[in-house]
Symmetry: C2
Subunit: 247 residues, 2 copies
DNA sequence: CTATCTATGTGTCAAAAGTACACTTTGCGA
DNA sequence: TCGCAAAGTGTACTTTTGACACATAGATAG
């Protein structure tokens, strides 16, 4: 082993956030466009930045997300750590880092987080080095800065695993929603069709949704019933070790 | 916010490994005893140490595990990152760090990994600052150095989730094993009884175990059939997106 | 005011999976 | 040869899944 390798790593730590949203037809991810640097194509990235001393990882992720996109008080779940020595070594990334970081060549280990939010409650307001922040449909996400595409894929996998193991996704919807919307949400996350009747049957049997005395209005078809999430029944279910939600 | 907090964190990175083994009756974890420092109780810890420059995280975890315990070429799966600013601040830990680290007060973010191994294939051989390395039954694990207990719990949860989602655990057994041994393994990981007949039925239906023409010998009861793991059927199963193994 | 359009909402049946449960078998050793 | 200890085996019942097609409510356009 080269003696060079014997030096203990002393990197920076960053967090990157994969925030999923849903607009009733597509699954989207919140991305920022970096301030462009002379001549470089501005490229899309996950909101993420270096963390500070004295911060714990979860808090840092929330702060960074807030600074770059304006989103606040989001429950973030950890995806994992990404620390390949070459993760920042694409030429375009190096140029950008040179422009914004004090020590652009320093190695950075990033801790990735993900979350689900209701898009309508959180209007992204870019600041810091985020020139803009957009909700991008997942099917349009093809390349991202750094190793962010890999991080995004890992987060999506976690999301799929989680939604298969236990019913989640209520964060992504407004307080009252229709079963069709919930149904659609599951379909876009899992990336496949689910039988409408079987889906409804299951949701209703679990009693985690509750019918409201209210219907859609003004739609050019049979109006659908509104439902709300029953938090109480949901926590009971989870506490009883329910972990086999699968379709 | 205090200006102090605005400094970017520049910590060390370590890895800690939670290695599970099985001795046909109990689930165990590989722990090391640290070289004792004047007056301090030697305490048990997960094998873990700082990583070097130029190493990627997975490789570092393997190197560290090997240096401390002698285990080699283990498939390690990431548990996650643990980086609370106070994670090394117990008095006993600080004293120990002072004795072995160049910069004992430096913040350290650790990336935890876990794995399952066949205890008989890997006889722990402590070295480096590991005074000894033992397989400790999980029910005896009550406190560990640093935040290692928390890390161990997170790893155990991952293991349970995983074994519920897909049949794993063959790593923990010798090449040929009896269905009773496999059955017991599932019980100790999940921490509850599983019906013997139902367990066997399921394993056999999935065709991931295959009967050998060989029986136990010299046991004071009906000798049991040996089985082997059918890797081919197993990968087929996994590739078909099988993820609902639950009992 | 009638016809048409569109998405909602509903029931049944067969197959598969899960759950609960008790006795016989084999080989060793006393 | 008897007893012991763990292996091994089958069945009946319940629950869950998965596949499938048509009537309904309200809006709109003619």
């Amino acid at each position: 082993m080269h003696s060079k390798n014997k030096h203990e790593l002393n990197p920076r730590i960053s967090t990157d956030c994969v925030i999923f949203g849903f607009d009733f037809s597509q699954l989207k991810v919140l991305l920022i466009e970096r301030e462009s640097v002379e001549g470089l194509d501005p490229s899309m990235a996950l909101p993420g930045d270096l963390i500070y001393e004295e911060e714990n990882l979860d808090m840092a992720a929330n702060r960074v997300l807030n600074e770059l996109t304006g989103l606040k008080e989001i429950y973030l779940e950890q995806v994992g750590a990404f620390g390949d020595p070459n993760r920042l070594n694409k030429e375009s990334d190096k140029a950008w880092l040179k422009a914004v970081r004090k020590n652009p060549d320093e190695r950075v280990v990033t801790i990735a987080y993900y979350s689900l939010v209701n898009m309508n409650d959180y209007l992204p307001q870019p600041s810091s080095f985020a020139k803009s922040a957009y909700w991008i449909p997942v099917h349009e996400i093809k390349e991202l800065a750094f190793d962010h595409y890999e991080i995004y894929q890992a987060a999506l996998k976690k999301l799929k695993d989680k939604i298969m193991a236990q019913p989640i996704g209520f964060n992504l919807l407004p307080e009252k929603f229709t079963l069709s919307q919930l149904h659609k949400l599951y379909e876009v996350i899992l990336g496949r069709d689910l039988d409408k009747r079987n889906f409804r049957r299951k949701m209703l049997k679990l009693k985690i949704v509750e019918s409201l005395d209210e219907k859609q209005e003004g739609v050019p078809h049979k109006p659908s019933q509104f439902f709300k999430f029953n938090e109480e029944n949901y926590s009971k279910l989870i506490q009883n070790g329910y972990d086999n939600f699968g379709f």
